[in-house]
Symmetry: C3
Subunit: 353 residues, 3 copies
């Protein structure tokens, strides 16, 4: 078994840095090849333990589908819902509602399964806390089998892989393709794992990446620095702006995504469309509603430009319903590619390069 | 792939009208044949996506059993329980607790699965709303793979198929067999999907159907009219009465089932056995308790008459416990036939006529 | 199909008495053999219905893993969570929140599955109630297929089998091996199924069993009497003491486990570490904290002695975290052996001796 980039002997896949630019692009190739020519029972005898700390629809269904269609199988566990709540902090007496520690739960599950897949959202504490990614970090630390992310505090790497597979399919290649990640409004402050992963993945795939967001919604420095390194390695580029129209001009992908503000507490709860009040600060926030992508936003884009979004999407809050229902929308194809991206990733985890 | 009666190119099975009388009876034949001579791995490589908006025991276990015993597999998703709540209404800004719209969720699941099975109970608004059957209607509209009902607002077609398989087994044939659907008391107003489907299925199978219920508990006109059409086509008959004893006289099946009142708000909560009050209206309601089938009710029935019920049943509220525990009861056989009925139905969906 | 010791024609496995001493030890042999030489698709075509009245991690994952790795499959149902709440009491009108009776639910599930596995914790009423074990008893009574316990009010037989497999692996044999079951503190009174099963299993496997607990925490007479019978048959022994240090002296296994007091209401909530109060009774309870196993407790034990615990364990409440993280700890191996023990047990249930 070959070592992963993380230096561990196990092929973990929780962050793009576990893969690196070369392997990321090789997995894109593998996903595209498998989509044309399905690999059959390539996962025969393999059992994936899926551990959810948060809800899921696409991720759960697509991972289960990959395992079952590949001749393997999956076990689904929902922490706190039929399964004991798990503690991941060290050095505390466990006298609260968390009955089990990851130090026991993770190695035990690793005895029953060939790999562990984990979903654990950001605790919303800080970018630094997301960078530390404590829960999925504990899984990697205590597991004796590979750990794959189904979205954690910092990244959603399978989404990023599926996104780039979609770009590649639509436009023949990712390298040099102009793609725009634009902030979008929401009723609450969402985690940054998806925008982080889109940025990192598009940079690793060599896209000409443009990121547009209002002031105060900067993505974490650790992520933008990492994206810059990937762009240098892949021949891509990344630019940032507060001018959404400029970022969309000539682009082939409008990737809409809500996320929470970088620091300002007043913005962490973003754009509440339900409670209008006469408040200058809230007025400013409500102006952000104009960031919601509509058909009109595509006038400056390339003629073949598409809308992308990771889903779930709140219609007429985050993205215009009419745009989602138009031929511009690639969101269902994009979600469908979760299956193909994860099939390639799990094939690598279980069967190697 | 042959077209279904609904005019769509997909073999949906959400209402008896998707099948029609001829196919319904052909599926009964197939179920009986499969029960004698199991079809082996007839569902190999097939993946069923099961989506539950409401609880289930039999339906969930029997559908999973059909897929797994047939060489295929299933994915189980519970909306609002580990899976995002789903919106099915159009034209509203999604700023509430429903994070995802069926317009995205359904086509996405259709990318991962070969068919979708859905359970979604009546919202209890009106018979007209049940007729529209909005949630399962949205699944049919937005899915690119066949949709099968695990009970929706208007019908529970797999229950109806299993019911007729049970009648056929007990009495050799369905055509001309006298069967009585009788209203029964309950602590709350239940949906009409099961009585609707028993009525439609028995009519389609050519039974001599008698329906007995108190005044005010009429089944919807749309259903009774559809049943009349099926009876004409199958050579069966349907009659309605408020006289339970008359309806049971000479019958071979007493099918007990609670359902809510047609229109009167005061009756929608039916027969509350727990809160007796001195109220003339409530007195009338409490008199309805005599509708609960007991062994005594069978004195007028055929000597070989059996009790049927879809389960779950509230003992000594809806049906007498002693009757359920007697040899008269066919309820466990009936539930067992859910497996065989659904095996035939899924075989048709995946493998055709 | 050979009859089980219980006199039924079905191979139930809900209590050690269903197996008896000879078969228990034969299953240990089978588990050890399968661990060396996996049996392949020994469960092909078998479907296990798993019914949970209570949460689970290890049990759920390991049972699913056994079925899926053995070529069979499992259906998971959580009572009251997507599945109707189940009534197990007879003779009451079902007008409460439990919509279905085990008299219907169990025989119906038995139509779809080849065996039923059930988890149902003690109601905390009394030792006599635990002895009666009403819920799993109802499953055995109404099922037409074998019933296996995933822990019930009185016992957790698969845990006991895995525990003895662990002892056998570590020390070459169970017979004559000194093992110590010691009470440990907790934030609440826990059921006795696990200590009961460790005691019964160690006695049946011929260990030199020592049980240490504070006054007032006696295990039920019915269990200690049964353990004495097994020890006589197996050539083992069982002794009881309130002196933890004496019980550990020379032992090779320190099996730590919290359980509730035998009778005193004041002790049923055991050792609350969170609410210190100036109360003589509570002072006495807090003194019980010294029963928590630490590395120091092993000074009197055999040099190769190990810590065992069924998990989940509350670190620094029930067992010292440092001890769990030390090479003394066998808890992960022990949990891993759940898979092997249950593989042997299910092989016996489905394939016989």
């Amino acid at each position: 078994m070959s070592a992963s980039k993380s230096g561990s002997a196990l092929r973990h896949a929780t962050h793009l840095s576990d893969l690196g630019v070369a392997r990321f692009n090789a997995l894109l190739e593998r996903a595209a090849r498998f989509k044309q020519d399905p690999p059959g029972a390539h996962l025969a005898g393999k059992l994936l333990g899926m551990v959810f700390f948060n809800p899921s629809l696409r991720t759960r269904a697509s991972f289960e589908a990959v395992m079952k269609r590949g001749g393997g199988d999956a076990i689904v566990l929902e922490v706190g819902n039929g399964v004991w709540k798990l503690e991941d902090r060290d050095g505390i007496a466990m006298d609260g509602d968390r009955a089990e520690h990851v130090r026991e739960a993770v190695p035990v599950l690793a005895r029953y399964c060939d790999a562990l897949a984990v979903r654990t959202f950001s605790a919303g504490v800080s970018d630094a806390d997301d960078d530390r990614d404590p829960v999925i970090g504990a899984f990697k630390r205590f597991s004796t089998v590979p750990v794959v992310s189904m979205e954690s505090a910092r990244e959603h790497p399978c989404q990023g892989l599926a996104d780039m597979l979609t770009v590649r399919e639509r436009f023949g290649a990712t390298r040099g393709t102009p793609v725009t990640l634009t902030w979008a409004p929401h009723i609450k402050a969402l985690p940054k794992a998806v925008p982080d992963s889109f940025l990192l993945s598009a940079a690793a795939a060599g896209c000409e990446v443009r990121v547009a967001h209002p002031e105060g919604f900067e993505l974490p420095d650790s992520v933008t620095h990492e994206a810059a390194r990937y762009a240098r390695e892949s021949g891509g580029s990344v630019t940032y702006t507060h001018d959404q129209a400029a970022a969309i001009t000539g682009t082939r992908v409008v990737y809409a995504k809500a996320w929470g503000a970088a620091t300002e507490v007043g913005l962490r709860h973003a754009v509440d469309t339900r409670k209008p009040k006469a408040d200058p600060e809230l007025d400013r926030i409500r102006n952000l509603r104009e960031w919601m992508p509509t058909a009109a936003h595509f006038q400056r884009a390339a003629t073949d430009a598409v809308l992308m979004h990771c889903l779930p999407v709140r219609r007429d809050v985050e993205v215009a319903a009419a745009l989602l229902d138009s031929p511009r929308s690639a969101v269902v194809d994009e979600a469908g590619n979760r299956f193909h991206a994860q099939r390639a990733l799990l094939d690598w985890i279980f069967n190697g390069d």
